[in-house]
Symmetry: C2
Subunit: 115 residues, 2 copies
């Protein structure tokens, strides 16, 4: 820090059960001095999806690139570049990419949600 | 919510002393259910700048569009689309746009920093 080029950050494959073709970066979190929350980015390759799950913390999202589906409590929301989203605590949710291009978004969580 | 198109959000002119050609939107905050923090966006028209100031809370930033200068404690950092930044608490800082195009960024603060 204080400034990080997105392209300089290393991506790691997400191995969580139910995740497919998902890669994560962590631009801003406790290591950078942010107390309490962590800003991650996720890249979903074509055909990729995050796990369908729920937890007692929220997501704050911004779509960096591409488009995809954000399912919240059984309802699909189409999202694309420059959209924001808020996933309430305890709602079932899943991001998926059924398009031919990469789908990439910011996902902010309280630190207990980053593991 | 749960999804908000950035272009649908109303922008307000920032009247704070020391701000010039600055417009703000608030995509995600207490009204959307986020406890503790607020995600704002700022648009700096050409020649625009935020106040040069400091406060005891941090900024978490992501550059949405364009490029500009982020000054932190007297040092200028060039920032452009897809960069992230973290402005530590109690550091003097200012965003400015001396280019011909709009400069636009996300700025997340604890709620006491949104007024």
């Amino acid at each position: 820090m204080p400034v990080r080029k997105y392209s300089d950050l290393l991506a790691t494959a997400v191995r969580m059960e139910g995740a497919k073709n998902v890669f994560k970066k962590i631009p801003v979190g406790a290591s950078e001095g942010w107390d309490g929350y962590t800003l991650r980015t996720f890249t979903l390759e074509p055909g990729g999806h995050t796990p369908r799950h729920s937890h007692d913390w929220e997501h704050v999202n911004y779509i960096i690139r591409g488009r995809g589906i954000l399912m919240i409590d059984g309802k699909d929301h189409e999202v694309s570049e420059r959209d924001f989203a808020f996933v309430p605590p305890n709602s079932a949710h899943q991001f998926s990419n059924s398009n031919d291009e990469v789908f990439e978004f910011i996902c902010i969580v309280p630190n207990r949600g980053e593991y």
